[in-house]
Symmetry: C2
Subunit: 322 residues, 2 copies
């Protein structure tokens, strides 16, 4: 019995749903608060145990997130679910903590060009921001972990390649500044599996247990392959977005974020526990659709359906795990 | 120098383009012969070195393939390119060999239910067919290799799971019957990376150098992840279809075959040589489009474009390979 439990805990992954934040802030329409609540409820019902629900940025910049505090206050009523909020700075962090967020995530660009273009700050200045947020957190909510997501870690549309040494240096600096976890984001969809495996391996060597989530995009179709590579490198937390919401930057089908449904299907088919119920996850698309009528949703597994013989635990090649 | 060459030959992969056969026989429209020729020419110009150009089946069953012999006779005028033809039986093999095909491929279902439904033969009867084709080949074209593609090797929409022991038994039987290579096909898009890695590893253990290509589908979005898993298991030949042509069995975006463009991008980005020029490969889509107006083409890399900093050999993380 204990061998089985230990096997599961080693193999299990945490899917961190970012749609209500990353997805909703990328589309032009604003989802009404009641629909956000219903969507989050449906995600929880499907078994999601970590959800990034809002971004605490000025409403004049992102009107889609004007109800961030209200959304967090609703989301945290679900017991046993870690509710995350994105904060760009100390001011946003204070609002997120006062609303009751369980975990903060702060984006820091690995590319200097992207950092300047996005927040008009150097990377060093963003490390100072991490330090300021960490201090605030220590003062008013010391139990709340702070994650840094290193955006453009695998390449940048402005400057092209991003030196891996820069990524590692920045990860170490963020941990020293008080971040509990540092994840790597393929903001621009430029990552490949060899690079993903190499960079996460280096990240783990540099910051050990502070190495965080893989946030990978499907811009060039490599999203799941990159997630597989990250898994093989030891990553166990994966950001994904229901319906691939989060931008269709180029063309129909060219979604940005990895599609939660397909990612969960991949892991579950491999016998790796996600804790998520796929039919209920597919059902959660309806709540998203109702809140954003007309927005295209991606995801091939929901369209194709689950294979004959599913659930995978019934498939002969997974019986050995049972 | 020799180390570099040896490294390349170990790391290089062969992309076997199946669009002109697998793709064209899956769509309702028939591409005119002149357009088939132009498309094949464009594929060769992009660097493809193996192309499956036709299926030698009765024209009443597949009118799209009525010009199979003419297409093969044109394709083999390209020096240095292996021209493959699918043959369902001895009769088709004779026609393909007389047209000058360089290599034959014969599909054998790993699922008994699929075999009965598809060709009204048992798997054992199909092994006899392999033997008959191999004997014919020995008589009239002994230089021509015979490949068997084991369809439904990863699961079947009719019977559900397919026992891995059946796949291995059938692969061994086909090699004993005279097949030079036995590949595995995820006909139904049910494969997952763990299964792909496990089954190809078993295949290699069972038939050694007779282990052949991975023919993987993208039905549930796992196509590239499954190719990565096959690569990690030692597979070096991958079937793919330009524009993902080969069926949109469920919904827009839910292509069947792995998209050649995205697969080549993945390998090239990883520093694994395919011998294919990506801009020319994207250009070959135009020839396909002209021959099949209105048919949807898939592929995310052609839509997103190559990343800033491409070709990958210029990217810092690949400099070590140069």
């Amino acid at each position: 019995m204990s061998a089985v439990i230990s096997k599961r805990s080693t193999e299990a992954v945490l899917i961190s749903e970012v749609g209500p934040r990353d997805g909703l802030q990328s589309v032009a329409a604003t989802m009404p608060t009641a629909h956000k609540r219903a969507w989050i409820d449906a995600l929880v019902a499907a078994g999601l145990r970590e959800i990034e629900v809002a971004s605490f940025v000025p409403a004049r910049l992102l009107p889609q997130m004007a109800d961030a505090a209200e959304v967090v206050r609703h989301a945290v009523t679900h017991a046993g679910v870690c509710i995350m909020a994105l904060v760009p700075n100390r001011h946003g962090a204070e609002a997120a903590l006062r609303a009751g967020a369980h975990k903060l995530t702060l984006p820091v660009s690995a590319s200097e060009a992207h950092s300047q273009a996005n927040v008009r700050k150097t990377r060093e200045q963003m490390v100072d921001e991490v330090r300021a947020v960490a201090r605030l957190r220590d003062e008013i909510a010391p139990q709340v972990p702070l994650e840094v997501g290193l955006s453009t870690a695998f390449g940048c549309t402005l400057q092209g390649p991003v030196a891996e040494d820069d990524v590692i240096w920045l990860a170490e600096a963020c941990v020293q500044a008080g971040a509990h976890e540092v994840g790597l984001s393929d903001t621009t969809g430029m990552a490949n599996p060899a690079q993903v495996k190499r960079l996460f391996t280096r990240l783990q060597a540099a910051v050990g247990s502070h190495a965080g989530a893989a946030h990978l995009h499907n811009t060039r179709g490599l999203g799941l392959a990159n997630c597989l590579a990250a898994y093989e490198a030891g990553v166990r937390t994966f950001d994904a977005s229901l319906g691939g919401l989060g931008g269709c930057p180029y063309a129909p089908g060219a979604s940005g974020n990895v599609v939660t449904e397909d990612l969960v299907f991949m892991f579950e088919a491999m016998g790796i526990d996600t804790g998520i119920d796929l039919p209920r996850l597919f059902a959660a698309r309806q709540a998203l659709r109702e809140g954003l009528p007309g927005e295209p949703l991606y995801g091939m597994t929901p369209e194709a359906g689950l294979p004959k013989g599913w659930p995978s635990s019934a498939l002969p090649f997974n019986k050995a795990l049972a």
